[in-house]
């Protein structure tokens, strides 16, 4: 079975993606590993894909998205990094792979994902919910159960499909929706690519909801998952092998949530300490902090979220300024400075 695994990220997440791809390569040396990047290398950083732990890079600009610059401008970094997952998985269905697996760049494998391939014998679409056990504690209900009602039942840091049948039909549908509606707009009922997938069990057949606690362990489900490391060297979650961890929010905020729900389950801190060491070792100082090539106008002025929202809401602006990143007279930036006020 030919498997393609991909992750979508920008250069500021290259360090995390390296850790993910190294773990994928360690456990699945025969899988094709693809980096889907919506960015351009920062000046002074010599990006050599051949020396990276993935097989190839696909640039978002090469996905054939119509009016790419205009489309891109409508999204902030999170929105666009999740939106491009749709076109890629749709196109990959015609690329020769039998199975396509998406993993967020801040996930890491700790054991092989072979059971996924077994499940894909009977199913075409695999999803991991944020929660597989309900919380009873008030704080945990607020932080986890209610939060996922807003952002989506399934965590789209992972999805796996067969490239035929319902898997292909899902990929086409997701592609279509994400090209037009992949925004962080919770009041409207949208949360990037993720909230859409609440529909999946209703819209598609052959969907498997993975209820194995070893998959997609993260701060949002630690309240109901206990980690252990055995004398045989195996790491388990509620007794099941730990497959992959989702290291969401590397930093103080993530630390607070992890501590709140891991308590004295110390192997959780061992895993995090290990991950922080790996990310630090994979960090290239030539990549500026928070770098994103599409975060600024051509003259270097930062693009504000409100400017992106205005542009995506106004068809007339999109028509008048097909390259909204441009600077100088007669550009969208110029319009913003003189007309928008």
């Amino acid at each position: 079975m030919k498997v393609l695994a991909y992750s979508s990220f920008t250069f500021s997440y290259l360090n995390r993606a390296r850790v993910l791809f190294e773990s994928l390569r360690r456990h699945h040396p025969d899988w094709e590993l693809v980096a889907l990047m919506t960015d351009e290398p920062p000046p002074g950083f010599d990006f050599d894909p051949a020396s990276e732990p993935f097989d190839r890079v696909v640039w978002a600009s090469d996905l054939g998205i119509p009016n790419f610059k205009s489309w891109l401008f409508k999204h902030d970094i999170i929105e666009v990094s999740t939106a491009v997952k749709g076109p890629f998985i749709h196109q990959a269905c015609a690329g020769g792979a039998d199975v396509v697996i998406y993993l967020d760049p801040d996930t890491t494998l700790f054991a092989p994902l072979d059971p996924l391939l077994d499940w894909l014998g009977d199913h075409d679409i695999l999803l991991t919910p944020h929660l597989i056990d309900p919380n009873d504690d008030h704080m945990a209900i607020l932080d986890n159960d209610i939060s996922t009602l807003r952002t989506g039942i399934y965590n789209l840091g992972f999805v796996a499909i067969r490239t035929t049948g319902e898997g292909a039909r899902f990929a086409k549908w997701w592609n279509d929706r994400l090209l037009s509606y992949c925004y962080d707009d919770i009041p409207t009922g949208l949360f990037v690519d993720q909230r859409w997938c609440d529909h999946v069990p209703a819209l598609f057949d052959k969907v498997k909801v993975i209820r194995d606690p070893g998959y997609n362990v993260a701060s949002w489900n630690l309240s109901r998952r206990t980690l252990a490391v055995g004398k045989d060297g195996a790491i388990t979650v509620n007794g099941y092998p730990l497959r992959f961890w989702h290291f969401t929010k590397l930093g103080p905020l993530g630390d607070v949530m992890t501590k709140r729900y891991a308590g004295d389950n110390f192997p959780v801190y061992e895993i995090w300490a290990w991950y922080k060491r790996q990310v630090a070792a994979a960090t290239d100082p030539a990549i500026p902090d928070r770098w994103w090539a599409y975060g600024r106008f051509a003259d270097g002025e930062p693009i504000e979220k409100a400017q992106r929202v205005l542009y995506r809401q106004r068809g007339d602006l999109q028509a008048a300024y097909p390259d909204p990143f441009a600077s100088g007279r007669g550009t969208f930036q110029d319009w913003l400075a003189h007309e928008a006020a």
């Binding site: 490391v229 004398k231 607070v256 501590k259 004295d264 801190y269």
Partner: protein, 664 residues
């Protein structure tokens, strides 16, 4: 050693940490002894690159830490109060080795490492305990506290605790509650053991942002709202938070070793010519340090081995890495060897020089020859084998004092927090362990050693050997079990005339890997239970706990100090609950010899075996079972009155000399 001095304009911690004898010896031109040395260092010395102690290079610290240099901070005080907690490294003074050689002629040993300083100067230890750090200047008298705040905080504020953990407040003589309300909380000082200022601020960033006193907020509102007073993350979280990458520590060791200058072969050759037999009859040992200068179980073993071989009339050549290493060295990493001949320091030489001098002795004169590898830490397998080859030896002994032959984490404590039992090297557990990537180095170097030499593995206990046999790679080897000590019945142990509360003691340093947090939690949970009396016997107390403490310092001059104190206090039971499996445990033997029962966990290695095989106490499955046994009163069966225990004399083995005698 640290100078006795009043606290004045010199940062408080420096007055205890600057090694005045070292300072005076290496900077004789200053004529600054005693407290003058401290003052000179604090005012001018560090700016001019002078080092305050043999274990600390001021210049190297400033070079390694540009932020400290740019801030104009004095490096030693920064390291002690801040840097070490942030994982920054200290590098030994370049003058340390020269000074070491001078001192080796018989004077009292200086503090070579931070650990030595901590053991020797309890005030520094107290100051450096994890937790809030006193301000660098003595606290000013606080203003009168707001009466409402004082009324709210007063009933819950633990003044005794506050004074125990903040010796500078004691020294300043200010009112503890007034100080806490005016300044202490802002400095992160906790008002009681059960409340953490820093945790509360971290969990509730709104409180931190509002800059209100977290303790007052908790008492006025937070408690009723169900807020958390202190994170319950367990002591292992604290260990992990401070874990320094092995690579970083190894790099620091390589830097320190690279700065050590080796001496010429003539110096060693001259010492050899003046030895007992001119190396005709020779015993060579290898370990991780110089056993006369450091104190611990392995060092005691080597002292005995030295005495035994002296009795056999052989010369004893001991080789150790002149700068301490955490791991074995691979080829190319610098590691000049310190050389002791019959217990006296000769100097520092390269491995090649040692081999050259040994090779130069006339092989036709060679008499009785033997060797033992006690630890390969800081050594390199090929260098070690080359030295032994030069001495004409192949058959010898390899001791299992620890598990360095299985992993760089030689206590087999994954990430320093849990016994791992040396799982397969490619396991997920090794994958997340900070020692994982150094495991192959240890396996490779030990494999090389075993390939090149004809080694008999000596274990001080059966469980240690059993684990080693199950995990070691390569073909089966000759093995032997030789306990470091045996018990000889010396009659009934004293039993208290009156049955009082059960006396449960913890022995030694309040260190996590020795099980202090387990004992600490027990005393916090059950300290007020009238059925029990908890005692701590050791060199220094834990200032955070109000616990009955008896100072006991075991030294070569007083090796029976702990045993005698246990007997005198008629301690009923000793809690020995190490995180890592003990290969032998002198502590357990001492406790039993003094008539005490031992309470331990199944993961304590030879302690559990010693206790269960001989009925010397209780092996309880985990901490919950321990707490249950205390609560239910089951532990009361361990009272001397109920057990009618025996006393024992400890007879120590002759170490490798016993094995050599057997072979003759």
């Amino acid at each position: 050693m640290a100078a006795e001095a009043p606290v004045d304009d010199v940062p408080w911690v420096l007055s205890a940490a600057v090694d005045a004898a070292f300072y005076q010896a290496v900077y004789p031109e200053l004529g600054a002894g005693g407290y003058e040395a401290v003052r000179d260092y604090a005012t001018w010395g560090w700016r001019q690159g002078r080092d305050p102690a043999p274990w600390f290079s001021a210049a190297a610290y400033l070079a390694d830490n540009p932020d400290v240099r740019q801030a104009g901070r004095e490096p030693l005080e920064h390291f002690l109060t801040q840097g070490r907690l942030e994982g920054r490294a200290a590098v030994p003074s370049e003058k340390a080795e020269a000074y070491r050689l001078v001192r080796a002629r018989g004077e009292a040993p200086p503090a070579w490492r931070l650990e030595d300083l901590l053991a020797a100067a309890p005030v520094v230890s107290a100051f450096l305990e994890p937790g809030p750090r006193p301000a660098p200047v003595p606290p000013a008298p606080p203003p009168e506290p707001d009466p409402d705040e004082a009324a709210l905080a007063g009933p819950e504020f633990d003044a005794d605790f506050y004074l125990r953990v903040n010796p500078d407040i004691v020294a300043a003589g200010v009112d503890p509650l007034a100080h806490f309300l005016a300044a202490g909380w802002r400095e992160g000082r906790d008002p009681a053991l059960w409340f953490s200022i820093r945790d509360y601020q971290e969990i509730y960033p709104d409180i931190a942002q509002a800059k209100v006193n977290p303790f007052l907020h908790y008492l006025a509102a937070g408690r009723a709202e169900g807020r958390t007073a202190r994170n319950a993350l367990g002591f292992r979280y604290d260990i992990l938070a401070k874990l320094r990458p092995v690579a970083e520590r190894t790099a620091a060791a390589a830097r320190a070793a690279g700065a050590v200058a080796a001496q010429p072969a003539e110096v060693l050759a001259e010492a050899v010519s003046l030895s007992r037999t001119g190396l005709k009859d020779l015993h060579i040992t290898f370990s991780h340090d110089d056993y006369p200068r450091n104190f611990g179980g392995m060092q005691l073993c080597l002292q005995r081995e030295d005495a035994e071989f002296a009795a056999l009339g052989r010369d004893h050549l001991h080789l150790y890495p002149s700068a301490p290493w955490l791991v074995v060295r691979t080829a190319g990493e610098p590691g000049p060897l310190g050389v002791l001949l019959n217990g006296r320091e000769v100097g520092i030489f390269t491995a090649e020089t040692v081999a050259q001098v040994l090779r130069a002795t006339d092989p036709r004169r060679n008499g009785a020859r033997s060797y033992a590898v006690h630890s390969l830490l800081g050594h390199n397998a090929d260098e070690t084998a080359d030295i032994l080859e030069a001495a004409g030896m192949k058959a010898g002994f390899f001791w299992l004092h620890d598990f360095a032959s299985l992993c760089a984490g030689f206590h087999l404590l994954r990430n320093d927090v849990e016994d791992c039992a040396a799982p397969p090297p490619g396991s997920a557990a090794c994958g997340i362990c900070s020692y994982g990537e150094y495991r192959a180095r240890h396996l490779d170097e030990h494999r090389r050693l075993f390939e090149r030499l004809d080694l008999t593995v000596v274990s001080p206990s059966e469980p240690t050997l059993a684990l080693w046999k199950a995990r070691a790679e390569g073909p089966a080897r000759k093995t032997v079990v030789l306990p470091h000590a045996r018990l000889t019945d010396a009659g009934p142990a004293p039993v208290p005339a009156e049955s009082g509360p059960l006396r449960i003691a913890y022995l030694g340093m309040p260190a996590a890997h020795k099980g202090w947090p387990v004992f600490r939690d027990l005393t916090i949970r059950h300290g007020s239970d009238p059925r029990y009396r908890f005692l701590h016997l050791g060199a220094r107390p834990d200032p955070a706990l109000a616990l009955e403490f008896h100072e006991v310092v075991v030294t070569p001059a007083r090796p029976r100090a702990m045993l005698e104190t246990l007997a005198a206090l008629e301690v009923d039971a000793v809690l020995i609950w190490p995180m890592c499996r003990e290969t032998f445990s002198f502590t357990a033997y001492e406790a039993v010899a003094a008539g005490c029962a031992v309470i331990t966990s199944p993961e304590s290695g030879n302690v559990a075996a010693f206790v269960s095989e001989n009925g010397f106490g209780l092996v309880l499955p985990d901490q919950a079972a321990l707490s249950d046994a205390v609560a239910s009163g089951r532990l009361e069966d361990l009272a001397r009155g109920r057990r009618a225990p025996r006393r024992y004399e400890l007879s120590y083995s002759g170490m490798t000399a016993d094995l050599v005698r057997q072979r003759r």
